[in-house]
């Protein structure tokens, strides 16, 4: 008995090391497994609060670029109003790119990462604003990511720049679809894989979200084709897609509340059960 205690006291730091490395390795492995909520995420009061404080400073420094973007959007909206057929009654915008305004939650990016293989954003709205896991996140230019974790006041988003994202996407003019991934190389480009060889495509074509996704509505902009790879072995294309969004510079974003999502999932579940 004495010897056991002696052994434990003598090697206490080794035992502590083994215990802690067990915990941290399991956290690492758990964070790499697909579709599992993370234990350690930046959607909590400590990191969310700190990021919000840091962001207020950054926001002040970036006022000029933000103003430019707003001015641009203003000009666009104005031209839409002036170009309506009946100029006497200004048309009220009720949607942004096919999504009804009442289904959107306006939120702000308070932390953005883009320098590792698995990138996440932190937003300053959470469950109290109605944000739930697996809602889509877009901004005025195109898609941004998918909500992963939520806390009462904050939420984290899997960015499109993440090895784990898979988003259903299609060619805008032809309805051929594939899935959108990221190879971890450049922040400006994502890859569209599994696109059938039958599709007629050329460089510069627009890629939008597909109708098969229950997260994003159809026809939200993603990017344009920058390079086409033909694999002679298979019947699929792999495309390099240049994002419309500059993922290193995000400000305000919109979270999409999809009302039909639960209905679709329940329906598909029913089919599988039978």
């Amino acid at each position: 008995m004495q010897q056991i205690f002696n052994f434990i006291f003598k090697n206490s730091y080794r035992i502590l090391f083994l215990l802690l490395i067990g915990i941290s390795l399991s956290l690492t492995i758990q964070s790499h497994s697909f579709h599992r909520s993370k234990v350690i995420s930046s959607a909590n009061y400590l990191s969310g609060g700190v990021y919000e404080k840091v962001n207020t400073v950054n926001e002040y420094l970036n006022l000029k670029t933000e103003n430019d973007a707003l001015a641009l959007e203003n000009a666009k909206l104005r031209s839409m109003i002036f170009n309506t057929k009946d100029t006497a009654t200004a048309k009220i915008l009720d949607s942004i790119k096919g999504v009804k305004l009442q289904d959107l939650i306006v939120s702000k990016v308070i932390h953005n990462s883009y320098n590792v293989y698995e990138n996440y954003l932190t937003l300053n709205s959470g469950e109290l604003d109605g944000v739930k896991t697996d809602m889509g996140v877009i901004n005025s230019l195109g898609i941004v990511g998918i909500i992963e974790n939520t806390s009462p006041k904050y939420s984290t988003v899997i960015s499109v720049l993440n090895k784990r994202t898979q988003i259903n996407a299609k060619i805008k003019k032809s309805d051929h679809f594939g899935s959108l991934n990221w190879d971890g190389k450049s922040t400006g480009y994502v890859q569209l894989t599994d696109l059938p060889r039958l599709a007629l495509i050329k460089i510069g074509d627009t890629i939008v979200t597909g109708g098969q996704s229950v997260i994003f509505p159809e026809n939200i902009n993603i990017g344009t084709i920058a390079k086409i790879y033909r694999d002679e072995q298979t019947n699929f294309f792999t495309l390099n897609v240049k994002l419309f969004n500059d993922m290193t510079n995000l400000g305000h974003v919109y979270i999409i509340k999809s009302k039909d999502r639960d209905e679709i999932i329940n329906l598909e579940k029913k089919v599988k059960d039978e």
């Binding site: 730091y13 802690l20 915990i23 930046s42 990462s113 320098n115």
Partner: protein
Amino acid sequence: MNSALLVNIFRFVLLLAIQIIIFNNMNFLGYISPFPYILFIILYPVNGNKSGLIASSFLLGIILDLFSNSGGTHATACLVLAYLRPLLFKFAFGLSYEYQTIKLNDVITPQRFSFIFLSVIIHHFTLFLLEAFQLSYILDTLVTTLLSTTFTVILCIIIIYLIKPNRR
């Protein structure tokens, strides 16, 4: 003894804050991201409590993981470095390092440099390996490790010179 503890706590908080607010947002050429926060583990007193070092480096790593959404990668890398630290001391300063008075935050000698360099490379390799988590990315991992190591070592030496206590 008490002041050493206070200095360490101060260092812990300060390095963590600098890492989160400034260095986490750096990304030169898409490859290089420096992590000078491991200076806490490097500068921890040589004859200090071993369990204390391991527990505090775990805490250091897990807090950084919390902020950068990286699961447990930083925690694991910090723990590996903290555990291997005595070995690195032996390698850099000779067998009887425990009886010498080694001061790391002083003028950079070859021994001190080799100790810092080895610590940084071990930490970074573990970190990037776990971050990629795929053997097909091994080449990328090695390149990133080398580039980031150079950068972190330079930053560490600059910081050591900046906080070096003045000789009377």
